[in-house]
């Protein structure tokens, strides 16, 4: 599958956000960009035992790295991705310079996560469709795509797969593991599963567990995919079909949850797409309003590059995430093992994972007397705000990373690029 990455969780955000540093068509590198990047693919032949009890016999992870791992190997940062992103976190793809990484505004020389001092790893998770082993990969046992036979995954499984990546690089302890949304859950997972291997845990726009409403949205998305006649029980590769209709509806639903009501009102309102004469309605079910046209377009585009089985797997992993589950619902107990210091950030208009969910994590950490910093950014862009260029948000993250650098005795920041330049 060709990774056609969007620069944010939704493309809508790109329309609201200040211009991303667009790659120059001639390949010139804008200031603060890590430049042209290519993924590497790292194979792990030791079977991975999964939470479900199933075993993934071997897997490959697609990875990009930026900056240089220092001699002490203490300046490494792992960036975990959310639902529809990948290892392409920053810079411009060497084979398509217009393809800018999904968190390029955050990661680069002189940016908040400063690659002049930190060695940053972007990793694509197993189950994905952007290069790491997933349902569309060939199952070595059958010689055919895994399809429906690909094992179910959890956030913990991703963390365990990433731990082997840390071993591969000889990184005993990450300076920080960081992610937004589902990526934040992986950062939390690291702090709980391998407390000794993470200095700082940076959790942005995330939640300690999905609410019934969150699961409800995921279920509607999954039903859309599964009930598409082209889905064929997940083995659509063999049938030469793609459940594009179902996947595109799933994406439309997800998309709505990434935006705030204000955002949608400002961008679309009740504007009609192409009104009939005298501004009349068409009185039918074709596109009547701008918002419908937009969502349909986003859904259809998504269905051309994203794998439906991956969408199912990832939404289910979101549903299953609940570190307090084995502790009678007590999140503080679940986090007791954590030795990392924490930074949490939430956004006021995020109704998918609202500030109150981040505060639950903060409260649990405070209860455990675990060092925690928490910023609640008053931003209008809903859940998607974590990918956008709010100067306060970036100042908090940058200030926090500069302290990590000072703690580790890394060099001082040489430049300020990106949002705060």
């Amino acid at each position: 599958m060709v990774p056609l990455h969007t620069s944010s969780e939704t493309d809508a955000s790109a329309a609201f956000a200040p211009a991303q540093p667009k790659a120059d068509p001639r390949g010139a590198v804008p200031p603060g960009s890590v430049g042209l990047v290519s993924p590497s693919f790292i194979a792990f032949d030791e079977p991975l035992r999964l939470s479900s009890g199933q075993v993934l016999p071997r897997y490959e992870l697609a990875v990009e790295t930026y900056g240089t791992l220092n001699a002490q190997r203490n300046n490494a940062v792992l960036i975990c991705h959310a639902l529809n992103a990948s290892h392409h976190v920053a810079g411009m793809s060497a084979d398509n310079p217009k393809d800018v990484g999904w968190w390029d505004n955050m990661v680069g020389p002189g940016k908040a996560v400063d690659t002049d001092r930190f060695f940053v790893i972007g990793v694509n998770n197993i189950g994905s469709c952007f290069g790491s082993t997933g349902p569309a990969s060939v199952n070595p046992d059958t010689g055919k795509p895994w399809g429906a036979a690909f094992p179910m995954l959890t956030v913990k499984d991703w963390v365990l797969a990433q731990v082997r990546l840390a071993d591969h690089f000889g990184i005993e302890k990450f300076a920080a593991v960081m992610g937004g949304s589902l990526g934040g859950m992986q950062a939390l997972g690291w702090a709980i599963t391998c407390p000794q291997r993470i200095g700082h845990c940076i959790v942005i726009a995330s939640t300690p567990r999905l609410s019934a409403q969150n699961i409800g949205f995921n279920e509607v998305a999954r039903r859309a995919i599964i009930s598409d006649p082209d889905f064929h029980g997940g083995d659509y590769y063999a049938h030469g079909t793609v459940p594009a209709k179902g996947l595109s509806v799933a994406r439309m639903i997800g998309h709505i949850t990434y935006l705030s009501d204000d955002d949608m009102a400002a961008k679309f309102g009740r504007t009609q797409r192409s009104p009939a004469q005298n501004g009349e309605y068409h009185y039918g079910y074709d596109v009547e309003f701008e918002v419908e046209s937009y969502l349909r377009y986003q859904g259809e585009k998504f269905s051309t590059y994203f794998d439906a089985n991956t969408y199912l797997l990832i939404t289910r992993a979101l549903d299953y995430f609940d570190p307090s589950r084995n502790h009678g619902g007590d999140l503080a107990k679940a986090l007791e093992v954590a030795t990392a210091e924490f930074l949490l950030v939430s956004f006021s208009t995020d109704w998918r994972f609202p500030p109150s969910r981040s505060r639950e994590i903060v409260q649990a950490l405070l209860k455990n007397q675990t060092p925690v910093t928490y910023a609640e950014i008053d931003a209008p862009h809903g859940h998607d705000a974590f990918l956008l260029e709010d100067p306060r948000y970036h100042a908090v993250v940058q200030g926090y990373y500069d302290r990590i650098a000072a703690q580790l005795g890394l060099p001082e920041r040489q430049s300020v690029n990106g949002v705060l330049a």
């Binding site: 505060r359 903060v362 405070l366 209860k367 007397q369 925690v372 956008l388 709010d390 926090y400």
Partner: protein, 223 residues
């Protein structure tokens, strides 16, 4: 992002930059120095309205204090993060629900009490989360204030530089007023320091001081 919103976001970062530059030149204010003197080495401290983290950074560096701050203002949160002070961004009026009972040795509320809507509530909350509470506030009993009122005008002075119609100070009190409330809430006052223009005042403090700093023990404190 709307233009005004973006400007205010930029402005918060600019104010944080200015605060960071100032911080490197400044020594601790006398009232904060006194507060620091009441805090034990290696203790746990919560600073409510911690601003740019000046006090907590001082306590961390000089007394190995394990501190946390609460601050609402974006620019101050950024400044505190830059100093490596642990800060939780929250409006104090929402209370201290994030914090457990008796989680800290001391809790500080510096020059904020007079601006809070729920005065009694925050004092009770302070007594809930820590053994010792420290509050500072402008002394309304400062004698020129009385003089000003005799002349028919609300006082406007150094610690309270606001006109009556634009002041954030909605709950002003004198030293005795505060002591009466503390008594009502079961807070046992252990220390008092009073200041005027950055200098400590010991004689006739109720009239001559502009700023009062009290330390009290929580009724929940275990003997």
């Amino acid at each position: 992002m709307s233009e005004t919103r973006r400007l205010s976001a930029r402005d918060a970062v600019r104010r944080a930059d200015e605060a960071s530059n100032r911080a490197t030149r400044q020594s601790l204010r006398p009232d904060l120095a006194r507060i620091a003197s009441w805090i034990d080495t290696n203790s746990r401290v919560l600073d409510l309205g911690c601003g740019d983290g000046t006090l907590l950074a001082h306590l961390r560096d000089k007394k190995s204090v394990d501190g946390a701050g609460v601050e609402f203002d974006d620019a101050r949160v950024i400044s505190a993060v830059r100093r490596g002070v642990r800060v939780v961004q929250q409006n104090l009026e929402e209370g201290l629900a994030l914090f457990d009972d008796q989680q800290f040795d001391s809790v500080v509320l510096s020059q904020t009490l007079q601006a809070m809507h729920h005065t009694e509530h925050i004092l009770r909350e302070m007594a809930r989360v820590a053994r010792y509470g420290i509050v500072s506030f402008p002394n309304f009993g400062y004698w020129p204030h009385g003089f000003s009122i005799l002349r028919g005008r609300m006082p406007v002075t150094g610690e309270m530089p606001y006109q009556w119609y634009d002041t954030p100070n909605i709950h002003l009190c004198t030293l005795r007023d505060f002591e009466a409330l503390a008594s009502k809430l079961g807070l046992r006052i252990t220390d008092l320091a009073t200041f005027n223009g950055g200098k400590e005042v010991k004689f006739l403090a109720g009239w001559r001081s502009t700023l009062a700093v009290y330390r009290f023990e929580s009724p929940m404190a275990k003997p």
